[in-house]
């Protein structure tokens, strides 16, 4: 696939890296020669210096042959115009990053359909949505939807003293009774294991489960986990993300306290929020945080623009007894480190936005994908092709490739959590959990 990416900011770089690594032809356009040079050195792609919204530059990038156009510069207007241009050149799919909400309010007559944009992405909004999704599950650190949300992949941290510790997966399967689930991966000390029946769950493991959304509560009960929505939340940082999260939580009747250091911004927040308490002090002011009760909250969301503030205030809250924290960090390289420090969830807006775009881009044979933070694994959706050699045989008898695990099967809109007796049919959508390096093997296996 030929992809044109305009803008080598936080998001653009990550997308290029992923797409290029997957073997797509990526052409990168940016006005900043220095940044381009650095990317060109690191990644294997064609870089063009210039304005991504100019016809001359786009033609130079051979736009009429592109299948996908992604505009992710920092300037909304450039992204919008570039996408409109791309439509005129006949690019099939167009993605634009637009930060200013005023451009895509629902009532505007110029919505994304009118402009011919397939996906409008607002990094702040995507980040806020991700935080809200994770916040609802107090023990889960990762939740990904599949099959239109019918099936989810949930990641849990197994704590010391949990009864499922030191039990083999085969024994666990006997326990499962009425509720179907598959443990598709275990992350132990930074290493991903795709487990077999003989593997044992240990304390401090991160386990990934595939489960029907409706069964989630029962399965969590079985695993001695709880997923109650937070009742009291503390949000540190009143920027776009903090504001959106506060606004959404307010609607869910969560008791929200929002901390923001800038007094002018506080005025704005107080005006636009209702029940949330807007507090004007620095997120690193430990005394103020504690006097407002950060130690007794269910959830701390640290989303200032400063990584240090986010990390330190999260650690402070956790140290004093806050139940869970979600921390924003703009440098994804530090994410694996933070888990060790005791931060429950670390999110990089860059990765979150890029994942959203990648998920959209990969709609095709591979229907959606989530790149899991801090692990080498990926979840992919694949369709069983016609005349597949392993069709009509029970799963137990076909040797699925190493380092992969079949999480769920979607057949005519119905979800099946597979067991050894499950028989795969043509047209089934398989949700496969796999090590990154094993993806080509899975694709090959399905093509055979």
């Amino acid at each position: 696939m030929r992809v044109i990416v305009v803008g080598v900011g936080e998001v653009g770089r990550h997308i290029c890296q992923q797409l290029s690594a997957e073997g797509h032809d990526v052409i990168l356009i940016d006005r900043n020669a220095d940044r381009l040079k650095r990317v060109e050195r690191d990644l294997n792609m064609l870089c063009i210096e210039g304005n991504g919204a100019s016809a001359e530059i786009l033609e130079q990038a051979n736009i009429s042959k592109a299948d996908l156009f992604i505009a992710v510069t920092d300037i909304d207007e450039v992204n919008l115009i570039a996408c409109i241009m791309a439509k005129e050149y006949g690019v099939l799919r167009r993605v634009a990053r637009v930060r200013n909400e005023e451009y895509f309010s629902g009532a505007s007559p110029l919505n994304e359909h009118q402009l011919g944009i397939d996906l409008l992405i607002n990094p702040d909004q995507v980040m806020a949505e991700e935080i809200l999704r994770i916040s609802k599950m107090s023990e889960a650190f990762e939740v990904v939807d599949f099959a239109h949300g019918e099936v989810i992949l949930v990641g849990y941290q197994v704590k010391e003293g949990n009864p499922i510790c030191n039990i083999t997966l085969a024994d666990l399967k006997d326990l499962r009774g009425l509720y179907d689930f598959v443990i598709v991966a275990i992350v132990r000390e930074g290493q991903t294991i795709v487990p077999r029946g003989s593997d044992i769950i240990q304390a401090e493991d991160r386990i990934y489960l595939v489960v029907r959304r409706t069964d989630m509560a029962a399965v969590e009960d079985l695993f001695n986990l709880w997923s109650t929505a937070p009742k009291r939340a503390f949000i540190i940082g009143g920027g776009q993300v903090g504001f959106r999260v506060a606004k959404a939580m307010e609607k869910q009747k969560v008791d929200v306290a929002l901390v923001e250091a800038d007094s002018m911004r506080c005025e704005y927040l107080a005006e636009h929020l209702n029940s949330a308490v807007v507090l004007n002090f620095d997120g690193l002011d430990a005394r103020d945080l504690l006097s407002e009760g950060v130690d007794t909250t269910d959830l701390v969301v640290a989303v200032t623009n400063e990584d240090t503030t986010n990390i330190l205030s999260s650690l402070l809250a956790k140290y004093h007894g806050a139940k869970k924290c979600i921390t924003r960090i703009s440098r994804p390289d530090f994410i694996p480190l933070l888990g060790k420090l005791g931060i429950d969830v670390a999110l990089s807006p860059r990765l979150v936005a890029a994942n959203m775009i990648l998920r959209f881009v990969r709609r095709g044979a591979i229907i959606s994908v989530a790149t899991l933070l801090g692990s080498e694994a990926e979840v992919v959706e694949l369709v069983v092709p016609e005349r597949w050699s392993h069709a009509d045989k029970p799963l137990g008898s076909i040797g699925f490739p190493e380092d992969t695990n079949l999480g769920a099967v979607v057949r005519q809109g119905k979800v099946i959590i597979p067991s050894g007796d499950t028989v795969l049919e043509t047209g089934d959508r398989l949700i496969i959990f796999s090590m990154k390096k094993a993806i080509p093997m899975v694709e090959q296996f399905l093509a055979s």
């Binding site: 306290a257 007094s263 506080c266 005025e267 927040l269 107080a270 005006e271 209702n274 308490v277 807007v278 507090l279 004007n280 002090f281 103020d288 407002e292």
Partner: protein
């Protein structure tokens, strides 16, 4: 401060009112009560005075907000003076002070009377009484603004000074058009109520007089017993529905009539107003049932609903002698008298929106005590209320208390008992009409000493023009830079 501008505008206002004085002549001739000549004489006096003033003062086109206050305040004083003439000249009210009290009570939509038997006035004077309320309800200055093209610029100052409420809606880019819209809504509602009352069995005269004083939240009736005289539950229902409507912001009515239902549903003040009314009604109904004021539950319901809404919107119509109700009911009614209607309605009182914001302000202060570093905003209808509006509301409330205390001291200082004295001030300052005790729904204000009446007249005007417009005239600095008018005849 340009006296020339003020004089010219006052002149035009008097001319306008002298035309209004001619309307009751039709009723005088129809009912043959012989009072028509007094309206002609009053009209002629008004026309000559007004014409003389308007002709001789050269209006300087510039009008600032200072002139606005003076025009509105003196305009109302002059209007009441002219409006008192028919009562005085006809001999129906022999004392001019009493006539002035009655006239001011009309224009300010108070509804307090000094008459023992209102029927003695005769149809044309009763109609004039109702008409003064109707004209005063939406504002005589705003009306003259809407009808007469005398103002090129600066209408906003007058509108600001006359329309009730801390903030004003502008419905059209030009203030004259806004005034016209509000008056049209007012006219439509009045016509509808007149029609309904006639269908319920009133004659045209009673119907239009009651419609006039209902929509203006005035309270003047054509009968001494007020609405109770008709003994007709349908009339009670129609009047109370329109009383409730008259207590609602007229720009909301306009938006509703032009198909904007959401404005109605969204208004926080409207919800507060209705909620307050429903709450008080329930309380009074329960109290009346528990204390056994009435024999049947349905009577308790009928009279409680009517009295509560009539007093809360500052109308003052009566169907029952609430002075004989249980103490809790009386106190609730007096407390409601302060609340008034919504801002932008014809109701008097402090106005619901001020009470609502005051409550929000108090709640914010409490929150500040718990979260010392919290930042809060007071919002109304999802929009932030600017700090200066909050300040003006707090100032308004304290000024209100001062006026109330000083006026009550003067009235009780002349020997009136505390219930009569304080409720007389409450009833006039909030433009309601009847109070308790000596000025209760079955009594009148004629027994009070002259000085008390004068104080109550000022209370009525101060209440109608929302204190600031009158209070500013008592500030010496306001009169510092008076510029005397250029007389037309002295022009060289």
């Amino acid at each position: 401060m340009r006296l020339g501008t003020i004089g010219a505008l006052l002149g035009w206002l008097l001319i306008f009112l002298s035309v209004a004085l001619l309307i009751p002549i039709a009723f005088s001739i129809y009912y043959d009560d012989g009072n028509w000549r007094f309206f002609v004489i009053s009209g002629a006096i008004g026309f000559l005075l007004g014409g003389g003033l308007a002709w001789s003062c050269v209006s300087e086109q510039e009008m600032g907000h200072r002139e606005g206050f003076a025009i509105v305040a003196f305009g109302w004083l002059a209007a009441a003076a002219l409006g008192a003439l028919p009562y005085y000249l006809s001999g129906a009210i022999p004392s001019y002070l009493n006539a002035y009290f009655e006239s001011m009570s009309g224009f300010t939509t108070t509804g307090a009377t000094i008459l023992e038997e209102v029927e003695t006035l005769g149809p044309s004077l009763l109609f004039w009484r109702a008409l003064t309320q109707w004209l005063g309800g939406m504002g005589i200055i705003v009306l003259s603004l809407a009808i007469m093209p005398i103002l090129g610029i600066g209408g906003m100052q007058l509108f600001q000074a006359e329309m009730p409420g801390p903030t004003k809606d502008r419905l059209a880019p030009r203030i004259q058009d806004t005034a016209r819209i509000l008056w049209s809504v007012y006219l439509i509602l009045t016509a509808v109520e007149t029609g309904l009352l006639m269908m319920a069995g009133m004659n045209f005269f009673d119907a239009i007089c009651h419609a006039f004083s209902t929509l203006a939240t005035g309270g003047f009736s054509t009968r001494t017993e007020s609405v109770a005289a008709f003994h007709n539950p349908w009339i009670d229902i129609i009047i109370i529905v329109f009383v409730i409507l008259a207590g609602i912001n007229f720009s909301l009515h306009y938006r509703l009539l032009s198909g904007n239902l959401r404005a109605f549903a969204r208004s926080e003040e409207l919800r507060f107003y209705l909620g307050m009314g429903v709450f008080a009604t329930t309380l009074v109904i329960l109290a009346n049932i528990l204390f056994g004021t009435y024999e049947s539950w349905s009577d308790s319901l009928r009279y409680s609903v009517f009295q509560v809404w009539s007093l809360m919107t500052t109308t003052g119509f009566g169907t029952a002698d609430f002075d004989k109700w249980a103490p809790i009911c009386k106190f609730t009614l007096v407390a409601l008298m302060f609340m008034g209607g919504m801002a932008g309605s014809t109701g008097g009182g402090i106005k619901q929106v001020r009470i609502l914001m005051f409550w929000k302000f108090t709640r914010m202060q409490l929150r500040k005590l718990i979260h010392t570093k919290s930042v809060d905003a007071i919002k109304l209808d999802r929009h932030k209320v600017p700090a200066e509006v909050i300040q003006s509301i707090l100032g308004y409330l304290s000024l209100y208390m001062v006026v109330f205390v000083v006026a009550t001291m003067i009235v009780t200082g002349q020997g009136t008992d505390i219930i009569t004295g304080s409720t007389a001030v409450i009833a006039t300052l909030n433009n309601i009409g009847p109070g308790l005790g000596g000025v209760g729904p079955c009594s009148n204000f004629s027994g009070l000493p002259d000085l008390s009446k004068a104080v109550l007249i000022i209370c009525m005007l101060a209440g109608r023009l929302e204190l600031y417009t009158i209070a500013v005239l008592f500030v010496p600095r306001y009169w510092k830079d008076v510029r005397y008018p250029r007389w037309r005849w002295s022009r060289s």
